[in-house]
Amino acid sequence: MVRKPVPTVEPIKVVQPKNQKALGPSYLVVCWDDPINVMEYVAHVFQIVFGWNKEKAVKHMLEVHHEGKSVLACECLEKAEHFVHALQTYALHATLQKADS
């Protein structure tokens, strides 16, 4: 996904259910744009890692491409770490971020 300016980083706010605090903090799985991975490959990886259909994978891939990043999941720490690690094994730039409560 080539020729994109470096995106500015803004805080990401996620609406959580009222009982979320009892379940522990949530973490966001964020995938960031880069100028090297082709769009088809990024969508392919999203399908494998999250088990999404092509339509959903392409939607998030395009969000990465146009917005500079996409929040792919909001999970407990363990699950979110699992997803971030999986994305990183495909050489995508993925990070874990604590969701704002």
Binding site: V2, I36, N37, V38, V84, A91, H93
Partner: protein
Amino acid sequence: MKLLSRNHDGCTFLLGKKERRILLELLQRFPVLNGNYQDQRSKKLKIKPAGDRHLLVETLEEFRKQTRRDLEEILNDEHRWVADSRGMRLLLTPDQLKILLQVLNDVKVGSWVRLGCPSDLESVPVPALNKEIIELTWAVNTVTVFQMVFLQALDND
């Protein structure tokens, strides 16, 4: 390289002998991407990731070792390659295809990192070109060619 056939058991590709040599040469380079890549990108974008970075780097290293073993198994399997009057046929299961895609992408992104992560490969000034830069640029571009054929084979549409 082109896709010859596809079914539930896997895909068959046709490669010329030179193409086969080039594909094997690129695959054998794995792993190229270093363990600090994620931190370097985060630093560039001024992101401070949460989570245990040390654990992630360690797990990534273990993944690379396992993938290297999987790759060796695929490359050493004589039945993967069948001589054809037009060249060589490569038979891959869907899982093997996914592993090769992952390996090739590591080689591609790793080569790009070694080039200094240029936002546009064509922006490298001609006077700066040397043997290493030309070779890494060749790797990035050539991997993309193989990658697109593999992705096309996995696309169910």
